[in-house]
Symmetry: C2
Subunit: 489 residues, 2 copies
């Protein structure tokens, strides 16, 4: 069989990524060696294996010359890098070379790693407070690396691949002659700079509001990534209100389009205020949080500021798809359970670290619905659809709606498969939803904000790992590879 695409450039890039991953493993190794007085064998072994396979791949493909990628190669590389990297990044969690009661099974390690890199934040680990510091830091690093990876993918790759309506953002930066940064490399540098800067600011905020240095750095990485891995089983339950407000601010920052930060820093001082996604996102959050805070005041007999903090932290956490919890909101009543379930689907802005459906898709949906109603009223009317004043690409409504359909269809299929593994309906449905939206916590005693995913059967953990990747890759990028047409010329 001859493939319609050349694999060697893909293997070469994957090899380079593995080498980079192996080097990154040295960071938690060094920290662990400092903090506890033993050799961090789990990282040394894992780095050796990862580095070996990476180098092999790089060396085997080094003479193949042409390394420009075409469309199909770009698809395959994107999908494969999100599959190959977790397969190796999971190794340290297995505790190779350590006492055997320290490590996790490969299933659990892969679930945790996929959850980390996709910035989902679902965990199979209970007893985080006793975990080796290197492994805690590794989890936070997975969140953090996944977060910046997704921004780069969303800003540079997806508009090019025209996934799920992302062509909207290609138009914005190419047609409107506002090419704020000409080159991809420079763009990656800007994104990384903003990301590092915000993470540092967040860590500082956590530090001055009471976290110790180690926790501050770990939580800051998981916050900006809208990942949600914590170093404590109680997540944010043990921290005060000041710390929670720092979290709220930086979870929000992680859910905003990074391109707006970059424009802002390059002198477009209204970039953050003028962005239509940011406007809609914040307006929505203000109303939902205020409404919930008032209901909470009445229901829990607490003061307004306490209610506001509780509502803001947990709602921002779910909507930005972070998944930290400061309280078990499933105890707030049936309305809260349904509300948090629905909020799970929303997601942050496109071009951020957030998952979910995302703000601009709801905006396009709303504009399309308005137009459908107008056309039912006056069938011969010609309506030009505009997004923030600009004419929408003609294929945009259908791209967005097709995305929504495949998103919900995937959630339905995963729910059914989980239920067939003897998992109860609410757990199955909310696990499918929280995985595909990359949020983190589900509903029910098992996987709710007060539980974890440890007790699910292995088959469910593999299925949910797939669901997290599916959501993170905006569904189509991964489904493409299952389409026979992809593999034909």
């Amino acid at each position: 069989m001859t493939l319609p695409l050349k694999l060697s450039p893909i293997i070469h890039v994957l090899g380079l990524l593995l080498v980079a991953l192996a080097i990154t493993m040295m960071i938690p190794a060094l920290v662990e060696a400092q903090m506890v007085d033993t050799l961090p064998l789990e990282f040394i072994f894992s780095a050796a294996v990862t580095g070996f396979f990476g180098l092999m791949a790089v060396l085997a493909t080094r003479d193949d010359g042409d390394f420009t990628l075409d469309l199909k190669q770009a698809f395959l590389l994107t999908a494969l890098s999100w599959i190959v990297l977790p397969a190796f990044a999971a190794l340290p969690l297995m505790g190779l070379g350590l006492n055997e009661d320290v490590g996790f099974s490969y299933t659990d390690a892969v679930f945790e790693t996929v959850s980390g890199l996709t910035t989902t934040g679902s965990t199979v680990i209970s007893g985080l407070d006793d975990l080796l510091p290197g492994l805690l830091l590794w989890r936070s690093l997975l969140n953090w690396i996944g977060g910046v990876g997704i921004i780069v993918m969303a800003i540079i790759m997806l508009p090019f691949l025209r996934i799920g309506g992302m062509q909207l953002f290609r138009t914005e930066s190419s047609d409107k002659s506002e090419k704020i940064i000409p080159k991809a490399t420079e763009m990656v540098q800007w994104i990384t700079g903003v990301y590092v800067g915000l993470t540092a600011a967040c860590a500082l905020g956590y530090l001055v509001t009471g976290m110790n240095g180690f926790d501050a750095i770990n939580h800051a990485m998981a916050t900006l990534a809208t990942g949600g891995f914590s170093t404590h089983d109680s997540s944010f339950g043990g921290y005060g209100q000041a710390t929670q407000w720092v979290g709220i601010v930086f979870m929000l920052a992680g859910g905003l389009p990074f391109i707006a930060f970059i424009k802002f820093l390059r002198g477009r001082h209204r970039a953050l205020i003028d962005d239509p996604q940011i406007q809609a996102f914040l307006k929505f959050l203000v109303w939902v949080i205020l409404g919930s805070a008032i209901l909470l005041m009445a229901d829990q007999h607490i003061g307004f500021f306490d209610a506001l903090t509780m509502a803001a932290f947990n709602i921002v956490s779910i909507v930005t798809t972070t998944g930290f919890a400061s309280a078990d909101y499933t105890l707030w009543g049936t309305g809260a359970i349904a509300g948090f379930f629905l909020l799970t689907f929303m997601g942050g802005c496109a071009g951020s670290t957030a998952g979910g459906i995302k703000v601009y898709r709801f905006q396009v949906l709303w504009i399309t619905m308005r137009e459908q109603m107008l056309r039912l009223n006056s069938p011969n009317r010609v309506v030009i659809l505009r997004y923030h004043g600009t004419r929408m690409p003609d294929d945009l409504p259908l791209s967005v709606l097709a995305f929504l359909a495949i998103f919900f269809a995937s959630t339905a299929v995963i729910t059914l498969l989980l239920a067939m593994m003897d998992i109860d309906f609410v757990t199955a449905l909310s696990a499918a939803a929280t995985a595909i939206t990359n949020v983190g916590p589900g509903l029910g005693d098992m996987i709710g904000p007060a539980g974890n995913f440890a007790t699910l059967p292995d088959s469910a953990k593999w299925l949910l790992s797939f669901a997290m990747l599916l959501g993170r890759l905006e569904v189509f990028t991964l489904l493409m590879l299952f389409d026979p047409h992809f593999w034909r010329d």
Copy 2:
């Protein structure tokens, strides 16, 4: 304020419908007078009230001459007739003039009536076996009238109103020069003829397989309407397998496009086999039923034919949106619960009495998804979308996808509102789903196949009545009226 449309023709038609409704109330009145030896006062009073308002409306508008309807008037009449008729058709269930422990509150009566006319089949009545025979017959008649009403609406009105992709069927009968029946009146006669004939055949089938005459007629009406009202609390639980197979056959008939029956009777003998909706519908059902039967055999330790009957009856009942139950399938395990929940959304064929999303929308969705994938692969390719060999109208994919989006958004909003009335998540979600799809039973102890809707709060009953109408009117027909543009010129 001047309205952009003339109301008098609408009021006139509504008046005529009310007069017809009052006359129809005489049928259960006569039957009840025969079967129990008392005066059927509840029907006599209700008919008097309904007839009075109907006649007033007809007389008040009789001199207004022009009775052709424009587009907006057609919308308004369609929506209003589904609101006004239940408001009066509910009266007999209140037991006016009878001993006061016989009747129901207006809330319960309206819920039951809307459930009947929309062919949903959810009930608030426990103790059906002891209900007055006239009221049992009235419930079945509501199902039956609603069923034929919806076919007439789907075949004649909705394609004209271009709701949710129904323009597909306008194209089929107008562009392909196969105008099988030229005039609407003749079409209505054909539909009614087929409907009456199938109902009679079904009643006969029930009769020879063991039902008494009264039950056979009642169940036959509820079967062809895919309504699901039974004369027993146990629904089909008390009937044998032969009776259940009669039910399976005629529930399926109720879920097929009636236009195909009419074509068949007019000599197009392949009309039923060639219909793309029927092909896909039956193929889907065969696979799902066989798969479920095999799982049931293993799980419940029963023989193949028993398992096949159980699977076929309950799956056909849900997918055709009938809602009869021969067993409490929620006891078959977590997979069955999730499976039946998802099947709730499917629905039968367009142009039948079935509700739900409907087969052709899934077909259009599938074709659209394939095209989206192809275009991601080869962005410059021009793909012509075909449905059963015919080029789709250009606006079809967007109409169908917009329908799906609004359908699920409505389900989400209704779920949230129900949950805020202190109803647990599974009950709220499945009640919203089963109402908007016009299926009937939900999940959980309260509204599951073994329960009923009596214990829900009144606010939930009104909300679910609205949801049933919303689903029956394909969402947009009702939402249109809430759009300010509709009321402008």
